[in-house]
Amino acid sequence: MGLEDGGSAAGAGEGGGGEGERFRVLVVDDSPVDRKIVERLLLRSGNLFEVIAVDGGKKAIEVLGLNYADCSVDLILTDYCMPEMNGYELLKAVKEHKLRKSIPVVLMSSENNPQRMTRCQAMGAEDFILKPLKAVDVQQLRHYTRPAAAAAVAMEAESAAKADGKRKLPPMKVVGENKGSERQPRPRLARVAVS
């Protein structure tokens, strides 16, 4: 993956473990310190995650644009406060995009701002985590991830359906997906004040 000028990819060989499925997380944060720490947290989480780290929303959009054909991003973990394109704007761009909107987005912020959290939740964010992140926060992320393989199947099916002239949405098997009334309570609901 050709990420340069503010991007990096890591994950292979870290943390031991077997050959279980690994989730690819796109970490978006303009702080190099926070990127490094979050990346380490993710890589230390029992070989669950691969990490792509970029330094801003625009770079994240580039990554998503280049790689969506492979459906290679299972989760976007983005800081809220970033220059040029903040986390909310990135969230909006993802959720309003026909092909990318199924990618779960989790926001991070150092500020406990209920209005901000509500706005993000309304736009479809999976969660809103207060910084600095802890290991327990990262462990919870697996509940939001979407296996790349399942997404690829969904995309292929959608493309095929369009070609047929029939619009069908195939069932998507998603690890940790919460369906309708069976929706599991989010681990961080208590932090999201819905006014």
Partner: protein, 152 residues
């Protein structure tokens, strides 16, 4: 190794940093992330912090010299500095950043200038103390940073 004078010295230095409020629990979190696969993680993060924070402090210095003051720009810089300070457990620097932010929000140039002096002072003090601490750790063992990790 754990009984060596250097190890004890490092442990005492870290305890002192915590007791005096220069560092908080978040620093322990960094140490927990260090292992054989990333044996210098703490030093790498600390180095990265001081490199990035120097850039931010220079940005604030420049912004404070301009008139009229762009408090939004100042707030942007200090927000970043506060965030990364918090991430490494630099408690005093973080607290001074909060005070600076309050003055920014009030549009107080005088307040910003005063509190920024304190930010720089705490930043410089922490830099010196962490450099000393890391220097001792490097001497402790071939993989000196392993000594920084608390026994589980």
């Amino acid at each position: 190794m754990e009984c060596s004078p250097l190890y004890r010295q490092a442990a005492n230095m870290k305890k002192s940093l915590l007791d005096q409020g220069y560092l908080d629990e978040q620093f322990h979190q960094l140490e927990e992330l260090q292992d054989d696969l990333s044996p210098n993680f703490v030093e790498e993060v600390v180095t990265l912090f001081f490199r990035d924070s120097a850039r931010l402090i220079a940005g604030i210095d420049q912004a404070l010299e301009k008139t009229p003051r762009d408090f939004q720009r100042l707030d942007g810089f200090i927000h970043q500095l506060k965030g990364s300070s918090s991430s490494i457990g630099a408690a005093k620097v973080k607290n001074e950043c909060s005070a600076f932010q309050d003055h920014c929000n009030q549009g107080s140039t005088e307040g910003c200038l005063r509190s920024f002096k304190r930010v720089k002072r705490e930043h410089a003090a922490l830099r010196q103390k962490l450099e000393n601490y890391l220097q001792v750790l490097r001497q402790v063992s071939p993989s000196p940073m392993k000594a920084a990790v608390r026994p589980k």
